[in-house]
């Protein structure tokens, strides 16, 4: 049981592993069913169920309820309502303006999905399954688990989200600016002699910005969990070095306190990174639309 608290490799428990028992199912030589895939599906189902129930409670009810129909019942629907209203009115509407209602479903879905993935990753499902498996069957299988791990700590998952954002941004650009306007946007308003530099950079920037979204989310999740794994390793490292339970206990106590504090930081980072992903997608969508209006707003402000 004790080795569960620490393997000698902090990255080991963050990397994607095949679902125990399905190692033989492969696709093109790699395992086809992995734990992150299972976590992804479970996060999607969980977020869908919670948001569906919350939506029903938030929506204006039937007339028979009288004025009560405007109330939101339950704590979690109230939290979701507060968050959604804040995001819509204070974050998205100033950027997108009259396009808000078109993109609100996608942006809020991205936010709540990434949030669910991140928070489910903070719960040590994989270790719980391994412990339950060892206790109940007293087998010697190392690290048996079906789901667990943070889905967003897998570059494939965040790249998938970023690719969807890329398509949303580009489709909006083509619809609102047209092909000519999109090409003009690539020049960035620079004079003609700068075009040989501007065009390649802007064209690459079109792809690099969603890639940065993906890498930012991936790196934040991996860094946080690696940090937690390293802190948890200290106790076992002390034991294997000194074989003295008193010293190990004191090192373990301090590293546990540090791990708890870093877990609080990780919860904050979970919310923040979901918000940043959504906010940057919003900003990129907003950049692709009304250019003329921005100059009007600037003049009105003065």
């Amino acid at each position: 049981m004790i080795p569960l608290l620490a393997s000698n490799n902090p990255i080991h428990h963050i990397l994607d592993k095949p679902i125990s028992g399905t190692e033989h199912i492969t696709l093109l030589g790699k395992p086809a069913l992995t734990m992150h895939m299972a976590s992804l599906v479970i996060a999607a189902i969980v977020s869908f169920i919670i948001l569906k129930i919350a939506a029903k409670r938030i929506a204006i009810g039937h007339e028979s309820q009288g004025t009560d129909r405007y109330l939101t019942k339950g704590r979690i629907p109230q939290i979701i309502e507060v968050i959604t209203l804040y995001l819509r009115d204070t974050v998205i509407r100033p950027v997108l303006g009259h396009d808000t209602d078109k993109f609100l479903p996608y942006l809020l879905s991205v936010f709540f999905f990434i949030l669910t993935c991140n928070i489910l990753g903070m719960v040590p499902f994989a270790d719980i399954q391994t412990i339950v498996g060892k206790v109940s069957t007293s087998s010697e299988i190392e690290g048996w688990a079906v789901f667990g791990g943070t889905a967003t700590s897998n570059l494939a998952v965040t790249a998938g989200l970023a690719i969807v954002s890329f398509f949303v941004i580009q489709m909006h650009a083509f619809k609102s600016l047209g092909v000519g306007g999109w090409a003009h946007h690539l020049t960035g308003g620079a004079p003609l002699y700068l075009l040989p530099i501007m065009l390649p950079i802007e064209f690459m920037g079109m792809f690099i910005k969603p890639a940065a979204l993906a890498i930012r989310l991936f790196a934040n999740m991996v860094a946080g969990h690696t940090m937690l794994a390293v802190l948890t390793m200290f106790g076992m490292m002390a034991f294997s070095a000194t074989q003295n339970w008193l010293l190990t206990g004191s090192v373990e106590a301090i590293s546990t306190i540090a791990a708890v504090c870093i877990s609080f930081l990780e919860l904050f980072v979970a919310f923040l990174q979901a918000f940043i992903f959504m906010f940057l997608t919003t900003v990129f969508i907003g950049q692709m639309s009304h250019h003329g209006e921005h100059e009007e707003h600037a003049e009105a402000a003065h």
Binding site: P10, A219, M227, I262, Q273, I276
Partner: protein, 108 residues
């Protein structure tokens, strides 16, 4: 006095972030100790992550410093300034984590 307090607070936060990345860099550095080539890879990875941590500390320290200064000038805007500070800090931290990813790529 206010600047000293603000600077100390931000130095602490910056050191915390430095600790996060330094611990990870140390873990990475301990990994590739097998041969000379992978030793050099380890040094490269550690240097990348270390410089990333340094840059993050500098950048976020400046952001926090100006945010606290402007809150001191105009306390009623504290909410809006604080929100913008958090957003900008997350963006700068994202760049530092790009450096950490490069370090990881150098190790593995």
């Amino acid at each position: 006095m206010k600047k000293l307090v603000a600077f100390t607070a931000l130095a602490t936060v910056g050191l915390m972030m430095f600790d996060v990345n330094a611990a990870q860099a140390a873990a990475e550095g301990a990994e590739g100790a097998a041969s000379a080539a992978s030793g050099l890879k380890g040094i490269g990875g550690g240097l990348a992550a270390g410089f990333g941590a340094l840059a993050a500390g500098l950048g976020i320290g400046r952001i926090g410093g100006s945010a606290v200064e402007s809150i001191a000038r105009q306390p009623e805007m504290a909410g809006s300034i604080g929100t913008n500070m958090i957003i900008t800090a997350a963006l700068v931290e994202g760049v530092a984590l790009f450096a950490v990813v490069v370090g990881l790529l150098g190790i593995l």
